[in-house]
Symmetry: C2
Subunit: 366 residues, 2 copies
C-alpha cells in the first residue's frame, strides 16, 4: 500500500540517536547530543544551490546541566512517540504532541515553542523532514486550480486520481499537509507555467476570469506566507514536471519576503531549503515599478515597512540588480500597493492587460 | 444554465432604490434613503425564531448634508456596478469594489470600511444577500469530509457531482464562497449528524481517525469564526436535509461565541440571521464541565477572557441554564482549554472516548 521506506529511514536514524546516548551512558560518559548551531551567524546563502543553509558550526547539548539533561530526556520520549506513530500509521499536529507530553512527567514541555524546536532539531540531526516523523502543523494547505492531474493516496491507502480543474469545484483542489511522494504524485500536466498568488481574492479573480485556461497555467493560492506543503508542492511541480513557477503578490516588503521564501528558502527552515525552495521561481509583481507604470492606488509605507525594506537591502537573497532597484524605488516613493489595487481599471484588467504584459516582458508567454 | 432569478430580484430591488431617489429629485425634494438603524439598541433577539434581528427603528440618510449627499452618490455608483456584474456574470471581492471606486471621482470611498458598510446597507434595504449582488469577502470557505454528495455548478455553468468523501483528497471538499441554490445543491446524504470543528488540527484528527465513517457523520472545518458561506452551508444541511448539527470548539469565551454565531446569528449579520443561523445546532464541547471531568490541560483566563465571559452572562444568546452554569463554572475555576488538549490521553481518545460519551449524553448517538 504505502511507500514505507521514508518512514523506515526516519526510524533508523532516530534509533541511532537513542543508541548513541545509550552507548555514552554505557561507557560511563555524561551523554550529549551534537547539533548544528541554530544562530543567525551560522546561516549562509549557498550560492551554488541558490538557497539558505546552515553552516558547519555545531554545539553540544550535554546532560552536565539540568536543562540539557531534561532536553535529552524529552528527546528520548519524542523518539519513542514518533516511532509509535509510524508503527500505528498515525500522524499528529505539533500542538497535539505538546499535549501528549503531559504524560511524560519530568520531560513534559512547558511551552509549545520548546516541542516545536526539538522537532526541528531532530530534522537537522537526522536530515529527515518533520513529515517523515508524521508531525504536521496546524496550518491549512492552499488551493490549486488548473489542468494538472494528481494521484493522492488517501487515508485508507486508496489511490485517487484528481484533475485539479475538471474534478473539483470552483474552490479548487486542497493541498493536503503531506505532499511527499508516497502521498501525492503528478500524473499528467497540460500547462505552460504555474502562478503562485498571495491573496484568496486574487486567486478567485483569476479562476473566475478563466486565466488558467486562457493562459494555460496552474493557479496556486499561497494564503499569505505559504505553508511547507504548499512550497513543497511547487518545488515538486518545478523539479519533477519542469514547470516554470512565477509568484504574484502584493507590492510591499512582506510580500517580497514571500517570494524570497519560495525561491531561496526561509531562515526558519534553512535545514531543509533543498526540499522546499524553488530557485527557478520568478517574481511577476507587484513591483515598485508597477506602482509607477500602472498608477496603482497606494498606501504610505509604515515605519515597520521601511525597516523591513532596509533589512532586505542587506539580505543576500535580494542582492541582485532587480531587487536592489525595486527596493530602493519603493523606499524613495514611500508607497506600497496591493495586488487587488489593479481592480482600479476593472475586474478584467489583471488578466487582459497586466499579467499578459508582465509575463511577455519576462519571456514566460510569447 | 444558471438560475438567474435571485439576481433578477436583486436587480429589481436595487433599481427601485434608484427610482425612488430619482422621483424625489423629480418632485423637487431633497432626496433621502430610509434604512433600519444599525445601532446595538436596535438589535433584538427574536425568541420565536431564536435568532438576532434588527428592530423597527429607522434612520434617514438625506442629501441635506454633504456627507449624506456623498453617500447617496456612492449608492448610485454601487447600484450601477452591481447591475453591471450581474449582467456580465462576474463577481467581485469587497476589496476589489473598494478599488473600483477609484474611478468614481467624488463618490470614491476613503476606506474599505465605508464600502463594506454600504454593501450591508443595501442588503438590509433590499432584503437580499451580498451574494445576490455578486459581492464576496476575501475569507476562504471551509472544508468538508463525509458521505454527502453535492452538485456544484462551476464557473462555466457545468454541473459537477462531488461526493465529499469519495471524490476528494484527504483535505476534503472546499466550500465555495457562494453556496446559494443556483450554485450548490445537495444530492444525497448518508449520515446521522454533522460536526462543525473549530481548528484544522482537530478536523484532520477526526479525518485521520475515520470518525466520519465510524460515527456516520459529516465533518466540517470552521476555521475559527466561520465565514458566511460556511454558516449558510450548515444552515442548508440542517434545514433542507434535516441533519442535526453539533459544534465542537475550544473551551473559552471566544469559542462559545463561535457556537452562538452558528446557532443564533451574529450582531454584524443580524439582518440576515434567518439565512445564516442554525437554531437547532447544539454545543458538544469543550465545556467548563469537560475541563473538570476530563482533567484537561488548561491555561489561565486572561483579563480579556474574563471580560468576555462576563459580557456573555448578559447576552440573550447565553441566557439558558446550560450556558449560565458553564460560564459561571469557567469564571470560578479561572481556566480554559483547547480541544486539542484531549491529546493528553493519546491521539485516539477524542474519537474513542470523548465524543462518543458526549454525543450519547446529548442523545445524538445511541
Amino acid at each position: 500500500m504505502r511507500d514505507e521506506r521514508r518512514y523506515q529511514r526516519a526510524v533508523e536514524r532516530l534509533t541511532k540517536i537513542a543508541e548513541e546516548i545509550y552507548e555514552q551512558l554505557d561507557q560511563g560518559q555524561i551523554p550529549k547530543m551534537v547539533i548544528p548551531l541554530r544562530t543567525k551567524s551560522n546561516i549562509r546563502f549557498d550560492l551554488k544551490k541558490g538557497v539558505w543553509k546552515y553552516g558547519r558550526a555545531t554545539g553540544a547539548r550535554t546532560a552536565k546541566k539540568m536543562r540539557g539533561a531534561q532536553m535529552l530526556l524529552r528527546t528520548m520520549y519524542m523518539l519513542d512517540f514518533i516511532q509509535e506513530m509510524i508503527k500505528e500509521n498515525k500522524s499528529s499536529t505539533l500542538r497535539e504532541m505538546y499535549y501528549i507530553s503531559e504524560g511524560w512527567e519530568k520531560a513534559k514541555f512547558s511551552a509549545q515553542d520548546e516541542s516545536n524546536m526539538l522537532a526541528e532539531d531532530l530534522e537537522i540531526v537526522t536530515s529527515c523532514m518533520r513529515e517523515d516523523f508524521k508531525l504536521r502543523p496546524e496550518e491549512d494547505g492552499a488551493r490549486v486550480m488548473g489542468n494538472v492531474t494528481i494521484i493522492e493516496t488517501d487515508r485508507k491507502g486508496k489511490k485517487k486520481k484528481i484533475n485539479c480543474r475538471d474534478d473539483v469545484g470552483d474552490s479548487g483542489y486542497s493541498i493536503p499537509y503531506n505532499v511527499e511522494k508516497e502521498k501525492l504524485s503528478f500524473k499528467e500536466l497540460d500547462a505552460d507555467f504555474a502562478i503562485a498568488i498571495e491573496t484568496g481574492g486574487m486567486f478567485d479573480r483569476l479562476v473566475e476570469n478563466g486565466f488558467d485556461e486562457s493562459a494555460r497555467c496552474v493557479l496556486i493560492h499561497l494564503k499569505g506566507q505559504p505553508a511547507r506543503s504548499t512550497r513543497r508542492f511547487m518545488k515538486r511541480l518545478s523539479e519533477e514536471m519542469g514547470l516554470q513557477v512565477v509568484t504574484f503578490t502584493d507590492g510591499d516588503p512582506w510580500s517580497f519576503r514571500i517570494h524570497a521564501s519560495i525561491a531561496y528558502g526561509a531562515i526558519k527552515t534553512a535545514h531543509i531549503s533543498e526540499y522546499l525552495a524553488t530557485p527557478a521561481a520568478e517574481f511577476v509583481g507587484i513591483t515598485a515599478t508597477d506602482i509607477l507604470n500602472y498608477e496603482l492606488p497606494t498606501d504610505k509605507l509604515t515605519d515597520r515597512d521601511v525597516q523591513a525594506l532596509k533589512a532586505e537591502l542587506t539580505d543576500p537573497r535580494f542582492k541582485d540588480h532587480f531587487w536592489k532597484t525595486e527596493i530602493e524605488t519603493m523606499l524613495e516613493m514611500n508607497k506600497k500597493a496591493e495586488q487587488q489595487a489593479l481592480a482600479k481599471y476593472g475586474l478584467e484588467y489583471v488578466t487582459s492587460t497586466y499579467l499578459p504584459e508582465k509575463l511577455t516582458e519576462m519571456g514566460i508567454i510569447t
